[in-house]
């Protein structure tokens, strides 16, 4: 029952996103029919194109037809390419998902490692260093770091290809860019979760009894950090969708970010709608995961 309610809420949110985006795009001064018609078109051609695309109809009518198509699973056709939007998105989605997944893997691995070290050596120099590093990561402008990594590791040292998609070595630099910058959040979360445990009485007792530090760290403290990390991943997925635009641009990664960017330049409304809805879906799903895990971590949080 609860699940059904969640589902309905999700659907309503998606509907809201669709409506707001549609209205925003409709209100733009830029004219998609003009963009398609190009510069040498006669007024008649432009008018014809506008009619063919249904752009001469009122906003509610246009939105209604978009919606009815959407409910049948049809995201429409790109204005500029005439290709189905679903085809374009599906062609590029795997690349973005790969990037997202790899980025998260790097973030989590790095975050777990750094956070554990910091928690174990709490208060010491290493702790401060790690925390500082995590702040730096979070504060750095993505595009500068991406350019830097590209220049140093790909262009100058030649360890990795400069752009492209397909093999493991292609994914290293983009994933590293995302991962290094985002690891900070995870590191801090892991650290605080572990410190929570390490402060507990039963841990002190265990230590007094002679249990090795390592055993305590790995068998008791670390598992405590897993759930918050998973919750964080949920939220992260949502952030990623927007954040990959820059990384995809710098590394020439054939993902949705590039698709969205080009579509915005060309005022290709169906594609913009499609990408926005896809991203919104990802965010909602990610939040859902995080929300479902939250009560498990902290029973004090009442489920709404």
């Amino acid at each position: 029952m609860l699940f059904l309610r969640r589902l309905v809420q999700m659907a309503l949110i998606l509907l809201g996103v669709a409506a707001i985006t549609f209205v925003l795009l409709y209100a733009l001064p830029a004219d998609p029919a003009r963009m398609i018609a190009g510069r040498s078109a006669t007024a008649q051609t432009v008018a014809n194109i506008r009619r063919e695309l249904g752009l001469d109809q009122s906003l509610p009518v246009q939105f209604w037809s978009y919606l009815s198509n959407l409910l049948q699973g049809n995201l429409g056709r790109s204005y500029a390419q005439k290709t189905e939007v679903a085809t374009l998105i599906m062609a590029r989605l795997p690349a973005t998902l790969t990037l997202m997944f790899s980025g998260i893997v790097v973030e989590v691995m790095l975050g777990l490692t750094l956070g554990t070290i910091a928690a174990v050596r709490r208060g010491g120099f290493v702790d401060r260093l790690v925390m500082m590093a995590s702040f730096v990561g979070v504060s750095a402008p993505q595009f500068v770091v991406a350019l830097l990594l590209l220049y140093v590791f790909a262009a100058t040292l030649g360890w990795f290809p400069m752009s492209g998609y397909g093999t493991f070595s292609h994914v290293v630099l983009p994933a590293a860019t995302l991962g290094v910058l985002g690891a900070g959040w995870y590191a801090r979360m892991v650290r605080s979760a572990m410190i929570d445990v390490l402060n507990q009485d039963y841990v002190r007792t265990a230590r007094a009894k002679g249990l090795s530090s390592r055993r305590i760290t790995f068998r008791h403290a670390l598992p405590n950090a897993v759930l918050p990390v998973i919750a964080m991943i949920g939220i992260d997925i949502g952030q990623f969708m927007g954040g990959v635009v820059v990384v995809e641009a710098v590394y020439g990664w054939p993902g949705i970010g590039q698709l969205a960017w080009q579509a915005i330049q060309q005022v290709d409304i169906p594609i913009i709608m499609g990408v926005t809805l896809t991203s919104a879906l990802a965010i909602i799903l990610g939040n859902l995961v995080a929300d479902l895990i939250a009560p498990v971590i902290d029973p004090r949080i009442r489920t709404r």
Partner: protein, 282 residues
């Protein structure tokens, strides 16, 4: 004042505050410190072949692709970035506070509706929304600030909502209510002050995010209008020169990093101080 003392005691926070102060002073004093007019495209600012000059001579940090002094532009850029940071963040926090408090206090149908709306806004891919809005409106300093604010208020609202919910349940509020205190009084005299720490913390942390977001938007070409310099659009204009003229990317990038970092450090330290439950958890 206790806050100030506590803050100054932590070396990391101290470092952050120093940087923040330096940036703010530099921004305020830009007209006095800047050796050149930031918009002046100087004939001598380019080499004979038309390439930007590296740091040295009269140009402390070099020149950009139009022959303008980088140091002066960075100084004025600080103004732009800080203004946007303050304005955007201020607006975001205000909206977030308002929505969060009302939703948390009122509860019931209206409250749930507000939070659902917040969820809706949260479901928007933030950067995409910012790109669409900024690319398709007429970007100016204020539009950019508004766009960033529209994207950032949601986080604040969520946190404020949760806190308000918690506060409302507390005994002293119920006591006030039973004494007959009106809603306004409760909201302003009791709830709002408790939320101030949260607002301050998020406000400070938010500046870092807005500086970064503004830089990213400018990098994508949809930020502050030229010739007005912002740290982001300096990099935008010079991005393909990162091999030929790395100072044009490195210096602005480093400044963005330092500024965002400092605000983050200060905000985090503030959180440690103002919210005891968070202390020691880093």
């Amino acid at each position: 004042m206790r806050v100030m003392k506590e803050l100054l005691r932590q070396p990391v926070a101290l470092f952050g505050i120093l940087i923040v102060l330096t940036v703010v002073i530099a921004a305020l004093a830009a007209p006095m410190i800047a050796p050149f007019d930031p918009d002046n495209q100087m004939f001598d600012g380019l080499s004979l072949e038309g390439a930007p000059l590296p740091p040295g001579g009269p140009f402390l940090l070099g020149t950009d692709t139009l022959g303008r002094d980088l140091f002066s532009r960075l100084l004025y850029g600080a103004r732009t970035s800080l203004i946007i940071g303050l304005v955007a963040n201020g607006v975001a926090v205000t909206i977030g506070l308002f929505v969060g408090i009302v939703a948390g206090y009122v509860r019931g149908f209206f409250g749930t509706l507000l939070m659902r709306f917040t969820d809706l806004m949260m479901a928007f891919p933030a950067l995409l929304l910012a790109i669409v809005l900024a690319a398709l409106l007429r970007p100016s300093l204020w539009i950019v600030a508004m766009v960033i604010a529209l994207v950032n208020w949601v986080q604040v609202a969520r946190i404020v909502y949760t806190e308000t919910r918690g506060l409302v349940e507390r005994d002293f509020i119920m006591a006030e209510r039973s004494l007959g205190a009106g809603h306004g009084r409760i909201l302003f005299l009791h709830i709002l002050p408790h939320l101030m720490p949260t607002a301050i913390v998020w406000g400070t942390l938010g500046i870092a995010t807005t500086v970064l977001l503004e830089a990213t938007l400018s990098f994508l070409g949809i930020g502050v209008q030229p010739p007005q310099p912002s740290w982001g659009n300096i990099i935008f204009e010079s991005q393909s020169y990162f091999q030929a003229a790395p100072w044009l990317v490195f210096f602005p990038g480093a400044i963005i990093l330092l500024t965002a970092l400092s605000f983050n450090l200060v905000g985090d330290a503030l959180r440690d101080i103002l919210d005891p439950t968070q202390r020691g958890r880093g």
